[in-house]
């Protein structure tokens, strides 16, 4: 099962048994993605806390 990262366009392999609402990380851009649909497999950016870089 494959899906595309909405942020960077990476092709992400979803392991068998992936469920809706699960969170996966994009291996390329690190975005945290929510599985919003399984048929077809669709990912959306999960809400993220903007981290402070501290400078």
């Amino acid at each position: 099962m494959q899906a595309e990262c909405p942020e960077c366009g990476a092709t992400i392999a979803l392991p068998a048994g992936t469920m809706a609402n699960e969170i996966v990380a994009c291996p390329d851009c690190g975005a945290e993605l929510e599985v919003v649909n399984l048929d077809p497999p669709t990912l959306a950016l999960a809400p993220e806390v903007e981290e402070d870089w501290g400078e």
Partner: protein, 344 residues
């Protein structure tokens, strides 16, 4: 007779620098220095360089009392939130944060993502860079601080802007290298020594908020800012790449920089043909209020590389703030700001 001065946010890095400067200022006495987390501790337990200089203890910010001059050195947003209270306590205020730097509330909203909490106060504050606002600061009641990266960029650009030497149709790139004290005293993952040490971190390749200040001060609309955090504690170096509006000679550029630096006690032109220190170098500015400026020019392409070095905590924050106070209160402008810096 001494003015009574207080510092809110005195446990931070800008606050600490204000303490260091004001303790040696002949015309003021520090009456309160606040820190919620360190209330009751001696200043020197947080700022060890002040050991032997003062036995003052931090007080909680809630206990702040009336004073003549109030310095605010707080995280973003805190000063604007409480400005009425602070103004009720002090005749004069110098706020080191970004809260009162921008004149236009719309610009504030664009860069900070929410409406300004006290927009009426924006016009009461004079932008606290004496090199451009000396007259307005003289006798003023309220001064904002300056952004450190903005200041390095502005002081690199102003000699060229004032002499009208920049081609405004071509992009201007300000690539600023900065030290870790810019982030303040609060610990975070990014500032953990094993990670931060030796880093060359593309901290803000695009989108840095100080651009708003650069546009306000220089009037330019084609400046592009990037910030890289390097191995350094204090210091910022702006390398600003611009293109000449016409063919230039080196002498004309010298003339523009001299004109800008004239009568500015803390601006020095650094451009040497030999030796190790040919251009502005932040490492020799630690603790000083100087902004060193210099340039290189490439006739074949018309590129001017204008360079400015400062200590972010001094000319980029506390030093300029004290310089503002001197102007606001009628003291000699350089009072308490004469440390020459170290070599090596």
């Amino acid at each position: 007779m001494s003015l009574r001065v207080s510092i809110v946010g005195a446990s931070g890095y800008v606050g600490g620098e204000l303490l260091r400067l004001l303790l040696d200022h002949p015309h003021v006495s520090i009456i309160q220095a606040t820190s919620a987390r360190n209330a009751g501790r001696y200043l020197y337990q947080v700022h060890p360089n002040l050991r032997g200089r003062t036995n003052l203890q931090f007080v909680h910010p809630d206990t702040l009392q009336p004073c003549d001059v109030l310095f605010l050195a707080l995280p973003h947003g805190e000063a604007a939130q409480a400005i009425e209270r602070y103004a009720s306590l002090a005749e004069r205020i110098i706020d080191c944060s970004a809260d009162f730097r921008l004149r236009d509330p719309a610009v504030y909203q664009q860069w900070y993502g929410s409406a300004h909490p006290a927009p009426a106060w924006l016009e009461r504050f004079v932008y606290g860079l004496p090199e451009v606002n000396r007259a307005a600061l003289t006798g003023a009641r309220y001064a904002s601080g300056v952004g450190c990266n903005a200041t390095a960029t502005n002081l690199a650009l102003l000699p060229l802007v004032e002499a009208n030497l920049i081609d405004r149709s071509r992009p201007i790139i300000a690539d600023v290298k900065v030290g870790s004290s810019e982030g303040g005293a609060t610990v975070n993952e990014a500032s953990h020594h094993p990670e931060r040490s030796g880093a060359v971190r593309s901290f803000a390749p695009v989108g840095h908020r100080h651009l708003a200040e650069v546009e306000q001060v220089t009037g330019l609309r084609n400046v592009h800012l990037s910030i890289t955090a390097i191995e350094l504690v204090r210091g910022a170096l702006a390398t600003v790449h611009a293109f000449a509006s016409r063919e230039l000679s080196e002498k004309e550029l010298w003339q523009a920089y001299r004109t800008f630096a004239r009568e500015q006690p803390f601006i020095r032109i650094v451009k040497e043909r030999q030796g190790i220190y040919r251009y502005p170098e932040p490492k020799i500015l630690a603790g000083t209020n100087y902004a060193d400026i210099g340039f290189a020019y490439e006739p074949a392409t018309g590129r001017i590389v204008s360079i400015c070095a400062i200590d972010n905590l001094m000319k980029g924050a506390a030093g300029s703030a004290v310089q503002c106070m001197n102007l606001m209160c009628g003291f000699a402008e350089t009072t308490a700001l004469t440390f020459a810096g170290l070599h090596p």
